[in-house]
Assembly symmetry: C2
Homo-oligomer: 345 residues x 2
């Protein structure tokens, strides 16, 4: 798969100049070069279809033009938006993107980070698997590595971070559900993992709910795994304990939303008449189920763009030294699933 066997030596030979001159041409250092030489070199390069060997180039310059991305789960539909943003921005800036997926395992993450550092990526964008396992990242940073955390944060503000307003927006969503007229709102969450994001949504639920009900903890269902079973049992419990009231469920991840809807369907609950639903995130199908599910939409493509932008600035040292924190705003999209009166808001 070597692109070509033409080297700078051959070009210089054919063009009748030195390697140095060709090199200068390649790097756009035309200042003191005669038009004639320039043209000759260009012609020869074209003729031989010469393409510089990027490895040799990197060896000298210590620049690989590679950016490493380690996400917690590539198949997550919102993560994919993130990756797309990163790839789009990076390729626009001439960087290529190496991707790996830790599948929520801190150990895998560690392994991938190391192999990327060995590969001499110029910077790293990480969706961390565990908010407490950042020793490696910390060490790397100490030795000059450029690192940006996307989406998820860690328990120490030492890295650049690009994320969304999880806490604030979840609070806002809960508040909105009560404002709309629901009597009780429950939380249905995928396992909290070692991610601050889900935790933030959980805390938002608890703190905001306290303004309306006595012990929100009783209605905060955190389900292990993604089996529908658990959701059915929890939802049944929730409905029973609040019989006669107008109830709504807040689902804190797409899978939780999906499973909650599945459980509601199995229990024969009508949405929104029997159960209001608001979830994360704005995936295509949410428009269609039950006449539209209300959701919080996070700007993940933009998070990708911003992470990449920040990282590249870091790489180019165009940014002040202390860690930057960027929080992009998400959007609450109200649809039929929270519409219990003719005019929801």
């Amino acid at each position: 798969m070597k692109p070509n066997t033409v080297t700078i030596g051959k070009v210089s030979e054919v063009a009748g100049v030195s390697k140095t001159t060709v090199s200068r041409y390649l790097n756009g250092k035309y200042e003191h070069m005669s038009e004639e030489t320039k043209n000759r070199i260009r012609a020869v390069i074209e003729e031989l279809d010469y393409r510089p060997n990027s490895i040799a180039r990197s060896l000298k310059s210590q620049k690989t033009g590679l950016i490493g991305v380690i996400v917690s789960d590539v198949t997550n539909p919102v993560t994919v938006q993130l990756i797309k943003g990163i790839i789009d921005y990076c390729s626009r800036e001439g960087y290529q993107v190496v991707t790996a997926s830790s599948n929520e395992k801190a150990e895998k993450e560690r392994e991938y980070i190391l192999s990327m550092v060995d590969r001499q990526v110029e910077g790293l964008i990480v969706v961390v698997a565990d908010y407490n396992e950042f020793e490696l990242l910390e060490n790397l940073r100490a030795s000059g590595a450029k690192i940006v955390l996307a989406d998820r944060t860690i328990n120490k503000p030492i890295f650049d971070v690009v994320t969304t307003d999880n806490y604030a927006m979840s609070k806002h969503a809960i508040k909105t559900l009560y404002d709309v007229g629901f009597d009780v709102v429950g939380l249905f969450s995928s396992e909290l993992l070692k991610s601050n994001v889900r935790l933030a949504r959980y805390n938002a639920f608890i703190n905001q709910s306290r303004e309306y009900i006595a012990n929100p903890e009783a209605f905060a269902y955190v389900l292990q795994g993604d089996q529908e079973e658990g959701y059915r049992v929890s939802l049944a419990d929730f409905m029973k304990k609040n019989a006669g009231k107008k109830v709504a469920a807040f689902a804190s991840t797409p899978m939780a939303t999906l499973n909650l809807l599945g459980a509601a369907h199995e229990l024969g609950l009508k949405i929104p008449e029997d159960l209001g639903v608001c979830g994360y995130d704005n995936l295509h199908w949410t428009r269609l189920i039950s006449g539209g599910i209300s959701v919080i939409e996070q700007p993940f493509y933009e998070v990708g763009i911003e992470s990449a932008k920040m990282l590249i600035k870091r790489i180019r040292n165009e940014i002040e030294n202390n860690p930057q924190y960027v929080e992009l705003s998400s959007k609450l999209i109200l649809r039929n699933s929270t519409c219990i009166y003719s005019n929801p808001l």
Copy 2:
């Protein structure tokens, strides 16, 4: 982001041996090495936290350990499975994966392929954007590049291909719909693009339908873009022309499925009573809408694994010269949306 400033030279110096010996150690060529030397080198490497410079390594060996993946659309939920399969297999084999997304543009694809070749990836897995634009790939292959096409094929059997049984399974699905008792089946397809996959499904529809109805072309709706509008109009047309009959719709992509369902909802059609539905692919939400949508499930994770496996075999020259064609079997999953009698099959 240079991992370290420790080189093989320093290690050899500290260990009191030559660089060659250290190099041999690194490459596991212990055959003729004294236990003592070995241990000493190991100790020094550990102590200095030495990590070999992969760029320098690549320069000599012409091996980068990089595999390039160019997909037509990273955000496509099935493509993501593909990518995951590729990444999983590659990282198990010690390769890293560089990803790019052509967004269905042959020109972008071309650009990315070239930049990856320049980067000296050892092989390429491509989900082609256009079945007629493979001149570049052909040239590359002629000069020894290792290339595997995943999912989509081109109009010339010159590359290794890993795909699924689109034609056969679509035919089977159509046949099944008629067997189940529908009188007329219509096709709702996203634009055919320059992809053989959608074309195969289209042709399967036409050819299989002919056994049941006179002019299937009349009920093959190919919609440009992904606006629901077009689907609504087409579906209304389909329903009107087949008033009084038991009708079903076959949607040939996930987006077509989603839009079809949206249109059905807007037209107030009950599924499956007024309209049977069978679509592509088995995404999470299909379980939930209308009590379950029948779908064809493609083994995309496996397609990823197989593509990577084949490519790596090619790279290692462990495979005969003529192009391999692998077609993995998809699965028809029947759910409520095609259940018009108590026992669907």
